[in-house]
């Protein structure tokens, strides 16, 4: 009887379903190939040159974001069955591509007609197709727009190709603010070279750039309209007018003023009016940064003796210290993502400046850079997935521009001409 019951019970074991949890996926880039540009058979030499330059820039840009990886062009197979409209997918699969971008180019250099397509090589289907008509000098805009769309198709979130990065560069007679695209294709100086201009910050819509300048001999806050290059004097209070940070709804500016001698955080409207003081401590309170929903402001305060990261409500209430590790924490920037962390620069016990993240809820600190010279002035990309910063690593002296993923991976230099740079500010995506 017992034996029989045991047998029946054993049946019950077979009814169990084993359960396994598999985590820790390998997040790798999407391998994408970019075929040679297809031009009309009767195309001129000048058009062929445009096509060649275009292809070089397109391939360079494909390799930029973490989510894409260019399959080396040297491995591509030539096949007469391949065309921009109908690729021969088997060949692309064989070289390890999951996706393929093709381009066909026609027209004249003054008005290029361009078609860009994205294919899923594995499934053999078209994922995206876009037409552009632009002069050859603006073809880079077509690349940014298309690759933003490619990233969106693949990941569900638009890329950041169309965003720009502002930074300060040391000049022979001062410091000037420059604005560049991520690939360094178009670098433009936007302030006078012989004046000290510092700490650029973008408006939430990317149409204006704020910076502190000694244009009128006092460190005042200016606003530059990017399209018309119109300069407005926003704040010229006695003492410092520095560290502007525009609220996510684009209506307010948080900044540091030293009206009464000590630096404190204030908030004003976009016209520089309705000034409200938020902090009042004996220490230095500087570098405000807005939380993504605009309800809180992170800042640096030395009220505890050393500079540390603090957080308060946007009306100045509920001020609390966030970092308790390290002795010199500064330059905070709050991620634009809803659950985002605050990135900041800190000096460690070896006196090296490095970049860290702090969780605004728990205060847990994560290190992003280490043992690679000094790394400072971190600033989030508009999607909160990457961080631009300055680093003194490498044989060339001075600070250079670098980007890394938000987990500290994939650190690489951008805009090779940018040497002796400071305080980069990554602007929002283009409104187009």
């Amino acid at each position: 009887m017992i034996c029989l019951l045991t047998l029946v019970s054993a049946e019950d074991v077979f009814a169990e379903r084993m359960r396994i949890v598999v985590g820790g996926a390998n997040f790798r880039a999407y391998p994408i190939a970019v075929s040679d540009v297809e031009t009309a058979s009767a195309s001129t030499d000048s058009l062929n040159k445009v096509a060649k330059d275009f292809l070089k820039l397109l391939r360079r840009n494909v390799d930029f974001p973490r989510s894409l990886e260019l399959v080396p062009p040297t491995s591509y197979l030539n096949d007469s069955r391949d065309s921009a409209r109908k690729p021969y997918f088997k060949n692309w699969l064989n070289v390890g591509a999951s996706g393929l971008i093709t381009a066909s180019l026609g027209g004249s250099p003054n008005q290029i007609k361009l078609t860009l397509r994205l294919f899923d090589v594995v499934r053999g289907k078209t994922l995206l197709s876009k037409n552009y008509e632009k002069p050859d000098k603006l073809l880079n805009e077509a690349i940014y727009d298309f690759l933003d769309a490619v990233v969106e198709v693949l990941s569900g979130e638009k890329g950041v190709y169309s965003s720009r990065i502002a930074y300060v560069k040391r000049m022979p007679k001062g410091k000037a603010v420059f604005v560049t695209t991520m690939d360094g294709k178009s670098v433009e100086r936007v302030t006078a070279p012989n004046v000290l201009s510092l700490l650029p910050a973008w408006s939430a819509d990317g149409k204006h750039l704020f910076f502190t300048s000694y244009l009128k001999n006092n460190p005042d806050l200016f606003q530059l309209e990017m399209e018309g290059r119109k300069l407005d004097w926003i704040s010229n209070k006695r003492g410092l007018n520095i560290g502007a940070s525009v609220s996510p709804d684009n209506s307010k500016i948080a900044l540091t003023l030293s009206i009464d001698g000590n630096t404190e955080i204030y908030v004003m409207n976009r016209e520089g009016k309705k000034l409200k003081r938020l902090t009042d401590s004996w220490g230095q309170d500087v570098s405000p940064t807005w939380s993504p929903d605009g309800s809180q402001i992170g800042f640096v305060s030395s009220r505890s003796g050393n500079p540390h990261i603090y957080v308060m409500q946007s009306d100045g209430t509920g001020q609390r210290r966030l970092t308790f590790q390290g002795k010199y924490n500064q330059e905070p920037d709050w991620s634009p993502r809803a659950d985002g962390q605050i990135v900041f620069t800190a000096r460690d016990e070896r006196l090296a400046y490095d970049i860290f993240l702090v969780n605004p809820k728990t205060g847990v600190i994560t290190r992003l850079t280490q043992d690679q010279a000094n790394n400072e002035s971190p600033n989030f990309s508009p999607d909160g997935q990457q961080i631009v910063f300055t680093s003194t690593r490498g044989p060339k002296k001075g600070k250079k521009l670098y980007i890394m993923d938000v987990d500290g991976a994939n650190q690489r230099r951008i805009v090779m001409d940018a040497i002796q740079v400071e305080t980069p500010a990554w602007g929002p995506r283009s409104a187009n």
Binding site: M18, L154, Q325
Partner: protein, 231 residues
Amino acid sequence: MPQKNRLRGLRRAIVTSIALHFIVLAGFVVARDSQARPKRTHKVIVTKLVKLGKKRPKELLPRKTQPKPAAPKSVLPKVPKTSQPEQKKKPAPDKPTSKRVLSALERLKQNNIVEDDSEGDPDGVVEGTETDLSQAIVGNRFATEIYRCLKSKYELAGLKPSQVAGKSVSVVLWIAADGSFKDHRIEEGSGLERFDDAVEQAILRCGKVEPPPKSIQRMVLEDGIEVQFQP
């Protein structure tokens, strides 16, 4: 006569006993089948080893784990010698330490370069690291085999951690007696096509594991194994 009666009584008792056994057994089976069988699950516990060493002082900023140093040269296999007899090298005459070396040593002293101390937990294990390799699975060897195979093929290409955070894909996997994946079905998708595709790819690329132990062959073939893929 009494002997006959005794035999008859014994026979009756045996028949009654068998009948009773049968009734109880049948009742048990009917009762078992009539109830909805609760699905019990084997939970695989994933543990993490902790590196042995001193705890880092709380007031200091965290440091990233250093990669393992390369194996010492002495561990490298010896290259077989050629037939030529080796000529003994004369010991090089002692050179006076160059000024450059001395000044470099002096600079190192001045810079007060701090060596990396072993940091971790006093209760940790010597071999413990903080990498994925340190994840040990306590539980069924077969489950571990499946876990390892799927994990090695589990790639989220073109997706970022923040895009899949909080999402998961649940799959039921049926495995044949030879260890090959007979069939699979996505029970609960993530809502992200590329995430679901990546899970399918991991299963297809894994394809086969070592044959399941006999005791669970029927279970993995008929009931399948539930696999939840998390980012």
